[in-house]
């Protein structure tokens, strides 16, 4: 059946995906889904009004007053763990239905399965129905998803990361064919039946609509910024280096901090953050005279490219970053081999907490945002949920109700016993308590958890102070509150975009060309050529598509 040895097909498909031939070449177009966007797909955009009409009525769950109230997409902050926990849910969600199979992504060693996992047993006992989770590798999730959707073989609850949605051909068709329309269960006041789902932010629900109907429960982001530029504040302080506040100072810092003889370089990957400092948009920006401007057309992009190419040319970037896409920059940063690199803000707490155990002075902080030549910086971000959870189609109204009740339990907010059980397991088994009452996971806890209920249930995001990172919550929320005003307005917020195939196809090759320019393999002047190729082979089509989506929504 499979002519090649196992594993070989991955590369072939990557190649096909790159050529945009994925579906056509391997499947022939007759089946529902394939390996990439189908060639010839023009993309679709669902109108914002249609989306608003089907959203659940937002009703915040006020179980515990936050110490640092969040606003908009910024999560609430808590500076202590509550001594007294509340019962958020009094009635067991299970209705005696058969076991619930779920599938969700996980980035790490998989926990033991049902029957050998005391954490699952404890949560299932509370739920009153057996949930049987299957954790799949997050990195290859799209491969698995493509095959499952194509073969119409989906579990009762399926969790799909937002970035995988773009990789699946005709995803909206798959949604309609395979998943339950949740509109009647959750639209408007109907959502009050599932109070913790109704407490999820409206901004996240907006993205869960396909073809004007509500199809998924969102897992809202706990921080809308795409990236931050982290620096080793402890090392900068001890070396007497001040925090850069302009591109010139950043360059100067690079020259002072880099010392190849000691194995220290100033920078890892920084280009995305440099673009933001220079005020460059992530994708599109509205032109004053109408129409959309792509970032390649913004002079700020060229300036950022020139600046970053200079950092590479002068040898201020770590050789691992220069050589490979997959450089382990986290490890280099932890070891002080690089002093600055860009990463998602989600990486912050884990890294700080882990490293401070051996190096008490370790202090990583996002670099304060600065603009260039008096112009303000722009921060990339969006309220797009991290995951969507879909319910299998055709299970019947009662079963869907049971599944939503389970999801409601999984969304129980901070301050409840349900939250503690879900996030930390059983006291004495999966966690012990620190002096301040906060849970500290045990070895068993780390092994058995795997966010098996968290990733499917949405949950209202919160930031809670923990013993190993005492300053983190205030630092994190402070950074957000200070900079949220700089976040680029998502022109397409609330509009469901399914991008045209030609557009999706040119992204990676163009990024590779830009990588070459940064690393000095092509001169910066080649940007003109890259731009020309980009707009000719899908860029213009993408522009027309995006402009139409805005026009259709009267924006």
């Amino acid at each position: 059946m499979t002519p090649s040895l196992p594993g070989a097909s991955t590369d072939r498909r990557t190649l096909l995906r790159l050529l945009g031939l994925g579906t056509a070449a391997t499947i022939g177009g007759a089946t529902l889904a394939g390996c990439s966007k189908e060639a010839g797909s023009k993309g679709t955009a669902t109108q914002a009004d249609a989306i608003r009409a089907v959203l659940p009525t937002y009703k915040p769950a006020e179980l515990l007053k936050p110490d640092i109230p969040g606003e908009g997409p910024i999560p609430d902050g808590y500076l202590s763990y509550p001594r007294q926990l509340a019962d958020a849910i009094t009635e067991q969600p299970g209705r005696g239905g058969p076991p619930i199979n779920t599938m969700s992504p996980w980035w790490g060693p998989a926990p033991p399965t049902l029957g050998r996992n005391s954490y699952l047993a404890a949560v299932n006992a509370k739920l009153g129905v057996e949930v049987n989770p299957s954790l799949q590798d997050g990195v290859t999730y799209a491969d698995k998803l493509n095959a499952m959707l194509g073969a119409r073989d989906v579990p009762d609850l399926l969790c799909v990361p937002n970035w995988e949605v773009d990789k699946v051909a005709r995803f909206s068709d798959a949604v309609k064919a395979l998943f339950e329309d949740l509109t009647d269960h959750l639209k408007g006041d109907a959502a009050a039946k599932y109070p913790y789902l109704a407490a999820l932010p409206t901004g996240a629900w907006e993205y869960s609509v396909w073809g004007g109907r509500l199809y998924a429960v969102p897992f809202p982001t706990d921080g809308p910024f795409a990236l931050a530029l982290f620096h080793r504040k402890d090392l900068l302080d001890s070396a007497g280096l001040s925090t850069p506040t302009s591109p010139e100072e950043l360059h100067e810092f690079g020259r002072k901090a880099t010392d190849p003889a000691k194995g220290v370089w100033a920078f890892g990957s920084v280009f995305d953050m440099v673009q933001q400092f220079f005020g460059c948009q992530q994708h599109w920006r509205k032109k004053p005279d109408g129409g959309l401007e792509h970032k390649f057309e913004n002079p700020a992009f060229l300036a950022a490219l020139e600046f970053t190419a200079k950092l590479f040319a002068e040898g201020l970037v770590h050789p691992d970053t220069v050589a490979s896409k997959g450089a382990d920059e986290k490890q280099l940063f932890k070891s002080g081999k690089i002093l600055m690199f860009q990463d998602g803000l989600g990486a912050w707490q884990g890294m700080q907490g882990e490293r401070v155990k051996e190096l008490p002075s370790f202090n990583m902080q996002p670099l304060p945002i600065f603009g260039v030549n008096g112009a303000p910086a722009v921060i990339w971000g969006s309220e797009k949920p991290v995951f969507y959870t879909f319910v299998k189609k055709g299970l019947g109204v009662e079963r869907v109700d049971e599944l939503l009740r389970v999801l409601n339990w999984c969304a129980a907010p901070f301050g409840s016993r349900e939250f503690e059980l879900r996030e930390y397991g059983v006291e004495g088994q999966h966690f012990t308590r620190a002096a301040d009452g906060s849970p500290v996971p045990t070895e068993l806890g780390r092994k058995e958890m795997g966010a098996q209920y968290t990733h499917i249930g949405g949950r209202v995001p919160v930031k809670v102070k923990s013993g190993d990172t005492p300053d983190y919550v205030a630092d994190y929320l402070g950074y957000y509150q200070k900079n949220i005003g700089l976040m680029e307005k998502d022109l397409f917020a609330g509009i469901k975009l399914e991008l045209p195939a030609n557009w999706s196809k040119i992204i990676q090759p163009t990024e590779d060309k830009i990588r070459d320019i940064l690393r000095g393999r092509r001169p910066v002047s080649d940007l003109e050529q890259v731009k020309k190729e980009f707009f000719a082979s899908g860029g213009e089509e993408g522009r027309a598509f995006h402009e139409k989506a805005l026009a259709d929504n009267g924006r």
């Binding site: 040895l5 594993g7 799949q136 499952m148 194509g150 073969a151 280099l332 070891s335 051996e358 991290v386």
Partner: protein, 287 residues
């Protein structure tokens, strides 16, 4: 002699290119956290022997289980593959066998036409193989390349030998087992090695067909260890995932898992090596 020197230098460089990464993996797996942090990643110079990474992976259960599954898949799979391939190759190598040209054509056709991800998935799930270790074996049970190699070898065996056996009253099965196979030890050993390494490295089929963590083969587990804690990269921007990066395994643990996956292949190769050149060259060139 400059020629010999140059040859030596090239060979040394080649050997180093293979051995240095293996060395770094081994040393890192035995290094303490402190040494790894001091080195900023992979460790080249051993400072101590710290077996804690190995203790961690073998006390957790998952690695032990995965090694067992991979061993089972490798042994069972190689046996199944060799039996099927040898039987098919023998049949296809006998000029008189029924429909052998048509059959051979169909076999060769699979070189050109890949069934596609979804059809393969449908067949495997349709046969009820999902979540069974047979899903790692049956879809790749016959490699047409190996089949062609063995067939070419069989065709090379002098017909007189077989005729004399027939005169002595031997049937086809007897001929295959008593005459063909003893003459083809080299090629069978090499093809067996190909199959075994393929099964030991089985990864993508496991991603597709195995949902149950207890049935993951070692490569699938290795991948989850190596990439643990890395944020998924989406068009240049890392996605922040709450909770995901909380407890990634240490580099030493990751490298210890690499050692566990690599060692069996490293051990097996030298034993089959003496057959290697002979088996492949004879099978591939003649016929």
């Amino acid at each position: 002699m400059p020629g010999t020197l140059a040859k030596g230098a090239v060979l040394t460089a080649l050997v180093a290119a293979v051995l240095v990464p293996l060395w770094a993996v081994l040393v890192t797996s035995l290094a303490s956290r402190k040494t790894i942090d001091a080195a900023g990643g992979m460790v080249m110079v051993p400072r101590e022997i710290d077996p804690s990474a190995y203790i961690t992976i073998f006390s957790g259960g998952q690695i032990t289980q995965a090694v067992w599954i991979s061993t089972l898949v490798t042994v069972l799979g190689t046996t199944v593959s060799l039996v099927l391939t040898v039987l098919a190759a023998y049949g296809l190598s006998r000029p008189g066998s029924v429909g052998h040209r048509g059959l051979l054509f169909f076999f060769l056709l699979t070189f050109l036409i890949f069934p596609g991800l979804v059809p393969s998935y449908l067949v495997v799930t349709g046969l009820g193989l999902k979540d069974s270790i047979w899903s790692l074996i049956l879809p790749s049970a016959i490699s047409v390349f190996n089949l062609v190699v063995i067939r070419a070898f069989f065709m090379n065996v002098p017909g007189e030998l077989l005729d004399s056996a027939r005169i002595d009253g031997a049937g086809e099965f007897h001929i295959l087992v008593r005459i063909m196979l003893p003459l083809s030890k080299a090629v069978v050993a090499v093809v067996g090695l190909f199959y075994a390494v393929g099964y030991w490295n089985a990864y993508f089929n496991a991603v597709l067909y195995i949902d149950d963590n207890d049935k993951f083969p070692i490569q699938r587990v290795l991948q989850s260890y190596i990439l643990a804690g890395q944020s998924p990269n989406v068009s240049g921007a890392a996605v922040s995932l709450p909770g995901v990066t909380a407890y990634p395994p240490t580099l030493a643990v990751k490298m210890a898992v690499v050692v566990v996956t690599v060692v069996p292949a490293v051990i097996v190769y030298p034993f089959v090596q003496r057959h290697f050149t002979k088996g492949v060259i004879t099978g591939a060139v003649k016929g």
